[in-house]
Symmetry: C2
DNA sequence: GTCTATAATTTGATAGAC
DNA sequence: GTCTATCAAATTATAGAC
């Protein structure tokens, strides 16, 4: 992994734990074994780092999902796959969704970070609409909004109450 | 309003916009017309302020709701009332739920702030279980978890995409 | 690419006067 | 209750050497 990717990975952990203000160039630098001035070589400003972090997170998240139609064709329920991906992020990483946290803080984020965060949600809503349409083509817009909100909220509350079982309880009715 | 309450109100706005790290004693002091050293007279540490903020927010939130049985008796659907209270917080204050944001940041919060945040969710889940039981006494625990998650998530995503209509879309199936 | 050095600002917190 | 004065630490960022 390149230094640049190491920095982004370190930043991801921090942001997913405590939000945008929970990482500093000095901390990241120390974790990857360089000096904070060198971080500015890769990312001119903190906003640049934050924006690239959200962008890569989004791209990786969508790539891991794959196309709804392809999932369906291999006998899987796309919505189930979607739920499982959120569940894994919570249980394995033991952390919030990066863009969930950033989304909640949106009013205080630099413009370019805000834009990338918004992009995450737009792409997820599109994906969910297509996925729902494959199951039952009625009210897909509402269903997509409902599914996404429920999963983000379930992650958040699970973290808050310190109980992963809560996530399964909250999402038990998702087809 | 006392200086202490003015400080808490100013802090609430900051936290609901950008999280726990988005307020400082100096900023709060300036907003209410005193010096930062004087803020320490009311709240010895930042964690003390944060904890009292979450506690008052919770108490106020529960008081505004009232008892589910009482709502039912006056011809209202308690769940509808509950949804409306979240909706108002988003549309009128144009801000996230205080404890929603704190909950997402929980791993990086001082212990006493974390505890008060947890209390908010525990009380809300209790309230929702009672409320759901009045409508249909089956699966009330799942229903409570589902309702709370959906509302917190819908607030979060609405903020992120900058569209209040999203909230209504996501929550349209809540009875 | 990485460093040293440093600037300018902000932060939480305390001591002690009034 | 509120102030001045101050501290130690952390923050984002830049200039310039190697």
């Amino acid at each position: 992994m390149s230094k640049k990717q190491e920095l982004l990975k370190a930043a991801e952990d921090k942001v997913r734990s405590g939000g945008y203000s929970n990482f500093s160039f000095r901390e990241l630098a120390k974790e990857v074994g360089i000096k904070s001035a060198s971080v500015h070589y890769y990312f001119p400003t903190k906003a640049d780092l934050g924006a690239e972090l959200a962008r890569q997170y989004t791209d990786n998240f969508m790539n891991l999902l794959g196309a709804p139609a392809k999932l369906k064709k291999t006998g899987k329920n796309p919505i189930k796959v979607y739920v499982t991906q959120f569940r894994r992020a919570l249980l394995e990483d033991k952390k919030m969704c990066l863009c969930g946290l950033l989304g909640a803080e949106t009013d205080c984020l630099p413009e370019k970070v805000k834009d990338e965060t918004k992009r995450f949600f737009k792409l997820n809503l599109e994906w969910l609409q297509v996925a729902h349409k494959l199951n039952d083509p009625i009210d897909v817009e509402q269903k997509a909004a409902n599914t996404l909100s429920l999963l983000e909220g379930a992650m958040m509350v699970s973290k808050a109450v310190g109980d992963n079982h809560f996530f399964d309880q909250a999402t038990s009715w998702l087809e």
